[in-house]
Amino acid sequence: MNAILLQLAARVIRVVMIIASVFVLFRGHNQPGGGFIGGLLAGGGIVVYVIAFYNHPLLSKTLRALAPMRVIGLILALGSGILGVLFGESFLHALWWKIELPLIGAIDISTPLIFDVGVYFAVIGVMVMVILLLMEDRKWS
C-alpha cells in the first residue's frame, strides 16, 4: 500500500526539516537552537520520510549509508576537544577564529561550533540507526 498524499508531503517535510535543522544548528550559539535540537529536527524529518516510503526498495540502503554519521559526529566532537590541546590549552578549551569570506563577510569559526556539529551528526546518526534497525526487524524492507 502506498500512501500517496503522505509520500508527497514527506518529500517536502524532509527537505524543509533538514534545511531548518541546519539553520537551527548554526544559529544555536546566540539564539534558541544548537546541535541537539538540530539533530532531532533532521532526525524527525527522516523518520517521517521513512514512515511514508517504508516499502521503497532502496530505503534501507540509503539509511545504511547514513549510519557512519554517528562515528563522524563523535570524531568531530573529540577532534574539537583535541584541537584545544594542540593549541596548548586544555582538552575542550574553546578556540575562536574570525575568517573573512568573499561575498558573505566575516564569520566566526570556533571549536564549540565544530563540537556542536559533532553533536548534530551523532544525534542524526543514532536516530537513523534506530529507525533502520526497527524497520529491518519488522521486515518492512
Binding site: V85, M129, M135
Partner: protein, 760 residues
Amino acid sequence: MILTALLLAFLSALLPFLFSKLEKVQGWLVALIPAILLAAFASLDVLNQSTILESTSWLPELGLNINFYIDGLSSLFIYLVLGMGIFVFAYANGYMKSYSGKSKFYSFLVLFMAAMLGLVSAGNMILLFIFWELTSISSFLLISFFHDKENSRKSALQALLITGVGGLALLGGFVIIGSVVGSYEIQDWIDNAELIRSSGYSTVALILIILGAFTKSAQFPFHFWLPNAMAAPTPVSAYLHSATMVKAGVYLLMRLGPVFGPTDMWQFTLPLFGSITFLLGAFFATVQTDLKRIFAYTTVSSLGALVMLIGIDTDLSILAALMFLLVHSLYKGALFMLAGIIDKRVGTRDIRLLGGLWRKMPVVTVITVLVLTSMAGVPPLIGFLGKEMIYEAKLQVPEAAPYMTTFSVLGNIFMVFVSIYVAYRVFFRTQIQWPKEPTRAGISKVFGPFLLATFSLLFGILPQRYIQPYLQLAIDSVRPEDIKLSIHLWHGFNLVLILSIITVMAGVLLFVFRKKTILLFTWVYESIFSVHFSDKFFKGIDNFMKVNKKKADVVQHGYQRFYLATIFSVAALFLWYIIVQTWGQPSVVDFDSLSWVLAVISAIIVVLSFMSLPSTLRRISVITIIGGVGYGISAIYLMYGAIDLAITQFLVDSLTVVLLVLVLPKLPKLVIYTKTKGAIKDLLIAGAFGSAMGIIAFTAATNPDVDKISEYFKEFSLSVAHGKNIVNVILVDFRGIDTMGEITVLVLASLGIYSLLKIK
C-alpha cells in the same frame, strides 16, 4: 615533541594497511617505524640532560594531564622497546610470510609497541594506567591472532582476565595514593614519598599496586598466563618476553622504588614472591618439552629474579636488576626468534623430536649456543655480568644473605642445566628422523638473532664502553645516592666468582647425569606440582559463572518494570536521606515574575493525564497520554522562557511516541492491576521518588543562601564564551565534557539496540 612522537607512533599503526600491497617487504617497512622513533628519542639526548619533562594539560581540574617524564630509567626502557621492535618487525617479515591477515598483525604489533612506549614515558600515573591497559588489550589481540584455534582464544582470554584484574587493582592503588598526595604526577609522588609512606592507607595502596605489577609481570601465583601466551605468533612472543608487556610490571616497580622501597611490606613481599617465582620458573623450564614453553618458563624465572632484586632495594640490587633486565632482553628476544626458525625449518618445536641439527644448520647452531651461553651466565657474554652482579647484590643483603644467595645459586643451576640440555637435545644429539627434512634458514631471518647475539658478546667484553653510561643514568634516576659505576668483565677472584664456578659446575654435573636428572625432576614435578594452575584457573572461572548465574537471577531477572522499581526505590531512599538530613533550609518564593495562571493550567493538564494512566487499558493510549504529558511540560518550559528546553522536550516526546508506536506489536500485553497490593507498592515508589525530586528542585530554586551556578553562566556566557544562548553555551562549552559523554552514551546505546535486534 614527545606527545607528537607518541601520537605518530599510534597513528602509524594504520601504516601496515598502506603497505599491504608490498607484501614481500612489509615487515621491513614497518621496522622503519621504531627505527625513526628511536632516532627521534635519541635526539632528545638524555645522556646530557638528566630529566626531560613535557606537559600538556588535558583536564587540569581533575589532575589529569598528558605529562611525560623521561629520565635514565625511562630511556633505558625506551631504547629496549624500540630497539627490540626493529628486530622483531624485521624478523616477522620472513616469519609471517605464509600467513594471511599480515597487515592486521603488524598493525596490532605497532599498537603494542606504541602503548609500551607511552607506558614508560608517562609522567602522570593515570596516563601510565591508560597505556598499561592498552598493552593488555593489544597483547590480547596478538595472542589471539590465530583466532580459529580454541587454544589461542583461551590463552588470550586468560592473559586478558589476569592482567585486567591486576589493572583494576593498580588503578585502585593509584587513586588512593593520588588522593593522599593530591596529585597524580610521578614527580610529586617521589617528592612526597615520606608523606605516602606515613599515611595509613599506604599498605592497602601498595598491596593493590603490587597485585597489578605481579599479574603483569607473571609472578607466582599469576605466572601461568605467560607460558600460555606463546600461542601467539613467534615474533610476538619474542617481543612480549623481551621488551614489552611483562617488563611493564618491572618498570612500574622500579619507578615506584623510591616511593615504597623503604617499607617493610615492599622488602618482604617482593623478595618472597620474586624468589618463589624465580625458583619455580627455572625448575618448570627443566621438565618442559616444547622449545617455546621452555623459554617462556625461563622468562618467568627471570622476572622473578628482577622482582626479587627490586624488593631487596639496595644500590647493588637495583643495579643488578637494571643489568639483568638488559641481559635478559637481549638473549630472550634472540632465543624466541631462533625457536621460531627451528620450528619453521624442521616442522616441530618438541625437543624430543629434534636433534642433530648442527650439521643441517650450522649458523643457527652457533648463534643459539652463543645466546644460551649468555642465559647460562658464562663469560665472556653479558649474561655472566648479570649473574655476577646478582650474586654480589645477594651476598650483601642485610639479614637474609644466606637464604637469598642459596635461592639464587639453586635457580641459576637450573638455568645452566636448561641451557646445556636444550643445546644438546636440539643440535648435538644424534637424530635420524625429523618430521620434515631441515632446510637452511635464510640470511634475512638469521640476521636479527645474529646481531642480538653479537651485542650480548660485545657488551659482555666491553661493558664500560657500551652500557655503562646508560646504566649510570638509569641508576641515578632511581637512587638518590651518588653511585659511581665501573663495570668490568673481570671482577677479580672473589666469593662471587667462586659461586659462579659452583653454579656452572653443578649445572654441568646435572647435565652429565641428564637421564637421571630429567627422570627425577619429572617425578618431583608430577608428584608435587600436580596442580595445573592454568586448568584450575579456567575451572574457577566456570564455577564462578555457574554460581553467578544462579545468584544473579535474583537481581538480573529480565523484567524491565522491576528494574525500574529497583532503581527508583533505591534512588528515592538516598534522596530522602539527604532531604531529612538537610531539612529546614530557608526558602524564598518569588511568584511575582511568573505568568503563573498559564503555568497552573499546563500543570493541571500534566497531572490529569497522569491520573488517567492507570485506568487505561490499551498501550497506544498510554503512549499517547505520555506524549501529552511531555507537551504539557514543554508548554511550562515555554512560559518560563526556557525555549531551548521546550523545543527539545517537544521533539523528544514526538519522536518517542513515533518510535514506540513502531515497536508496539512487539510488546507483551499491558499488565492491568488486578491486585491492589501491587498497585499500592508502585504508588508508594512513584510517590516517594517523585516527591523527593520535587522537594529537591524546589529547595534548589528557592534557597537564597546558595551561590547559584546560573549566575556564573549568565556572567560569562557572552563575555568569555561568546554566546548569547546560555543553554547552548553550557552544552558545548562550559559543560562540553558532559555532552561529550552523553553523545558517546547515545552512540553506545544504538550499538545496544543493534545487538538486541540483530543478534538473537
